[in-house]
């Protein structure tokens, strides 16, 4: 009986947490589409998310593309299908690895920073101060970050896709002996619009998730430094798990026959 009660408590706590997150998301999204818009803050967040994440996302994409070419070559060579390497690299990068790797990297870099910044504002009463200065904290702090996350991650993923495919190209040509022109031809021959579009849709969703979980964890942090630390961990872990879940859901929506 105690076991059933414990399961019930966990389930109720899960429902409560989901409800809180849903209410927070609904209110924040409503503030994203109603004026006034804090353009200066949106711009600052866009630079933080888009420009300053470029090095880490670029490096990740480069090595992912290179490893992908190497692994597909060694695998496909077993049944003489080495010619498919270029196609595998471009499809994997655009459909899956570009958005997922960029999403996870941005979750670690930006989601954590958002949770820490907003969490510190919460425990030092800066969020209460916003309220007393006739400024809605959700509109001022959360909406600009959601807009920036939603718009900047697709741009990062475009860059990640290009760099990743280029990484695969470099390894294939310089190490595996592929003809550059033939490699590029097979890269573009099998690439369809939906491959790129599905990746960009994923990127937009992942960007929203990273910003949402960063803001939500920070906004609801309690206590002092320990509370902010645990909000940061929660932001990164929950965003990463949600990215992987939504990756499957969006793939299913786009590609299941």
């Amino acid at each position: 009986m105690n076991f059933v009660a414990a399961v019930g408590r966990v389930f109720l706590a899960f429902l409560e947490a989901t409800g809180r997150l849903a209410l927070f998301t609904g209110a924040s999204v409503a503030y994203c589409v109603t004026p006034p818009f804090y353009l200066r803050l949106i711009g600052r967040q866009m630079i933080d998310i888009g420009y300053y994440s470029l090095p880490v996302v670029g490096l990740t994409a480069t090595f992912t593309g290179m490893v992908l070419a190497l692994q597909s070559y060694t695998g496909f060579a077993r049944f003489e299908a080495e010619g498919a390497v270029a196609t595998v690299v471009v499809l994997s990068m655009t459909r899956e690895l570009g958005p997922v790797m960029a999403g996870l990297m941005v979750a670690g870099r930006i989601g954590a920073a958002m949770a820490a910044e907003i969490g510190t504002m919460r425990v030092t009463e800066q969020i209460d101060a916003l309220t007393t200065l006739s400024t809605n904290p959700l509109k001022y702090l959360v909406a600009p970050r959601l807009i920036a996350g939603l718009t900047m991650l697709p741009l990062l993923v475009v860059v990640a896709d290009i760099i990743g495919v280029f990484g695969g190209f470099v390894v294939s040509v310089s190490k595996l002996g592929f003809n550059p022109a033939a490699y590029l031809k097979s890269t573009f021959d099998y690439l369809e619009r939906i491959d790129v579009v599905s990746g960009l849709v994923k990127a937009a969703v992942f960007g929203f998730i990273v910003a949402l979980m960063g803001c939500y964890s920070g906004y609801n942090s309690k206590g002092g430094a320990q509370g902010v630390g645990s909000a940061t961990t929660t932001a990164v872990v929950s965003a990463s798990v949600l990215i992987l879940c939504f990756n499957y859901i969006i793939t299913e929506l786009f590609f299941s026959r």
Partner: protein, 258 residues
Amino acid sequence: MSDRGIKISVRDLHKSFGSKVVLDGINLDIGVGESLVVIGGSGSGKSVLIKCILGILVPDSGSIKIDGEETVGISRGGRERVLKKFGMLFQGSALFDSLPVWENVAFGLIQGRGMDRNEAKKIAIEKLAAVGLGPEVGELSPAELSGGMQKRVALARAIAAQPEVIFFDEPTTGLDPIMGDIINSLILTCVKRLGATALSITHDMASTRKIADRVAMIYDGKIIWEGPVSKIDHSGNAYVEQFIHGKEEGPIKMAVRG
């Protein structure tokens, strides 16, 4: 109490966090232009009372009227309108780290009232001067200021929009006695100059004696005594006596654990 009418009226206010009852039927009136100081030990519910009046916390039950208008359960738009009457100085100053000092002071004018940034900056520099800080301080970051200077900036921010009511949450906590006295004098000057109503919460008796017209003591979630500051030394209330003299012996038993 002021004979010019009541600015804030609190009736039978209750607030609990889980099983912990923090406010247990608070009744309080603050007159227009009056300076009321609420005293009480740590964890007695002083900050919760202020946050309930501001709408940062939602009370479980009771009534809070500002200028006769009920604010418990008020709409979001109504709350924003009511909050325009308020300024607040937070215990830890609560300055925004990401903004320079002048923008902290001008924040309510720019974001809350849509004022032009250049015009708001001029007012911010004036308010900084009113609390004894030069215009060069306006360009600094809050992290570059001492605790006393941060309190002055927070006071400048609280008065920048010329509020009708100003709340002071432990205004002298963490300051040395001289800086505490300077802040108390600034509070007196600024409140008098604005003609504002002031509600302060503190456990600093020197601060209380300097800035209060009237004092109320909160204990165990209730107001157990209130009266003019001149009568606090002859209150006839054992709780107040123990508190103002800081004695260990007496009816107030401090919880070692929260």
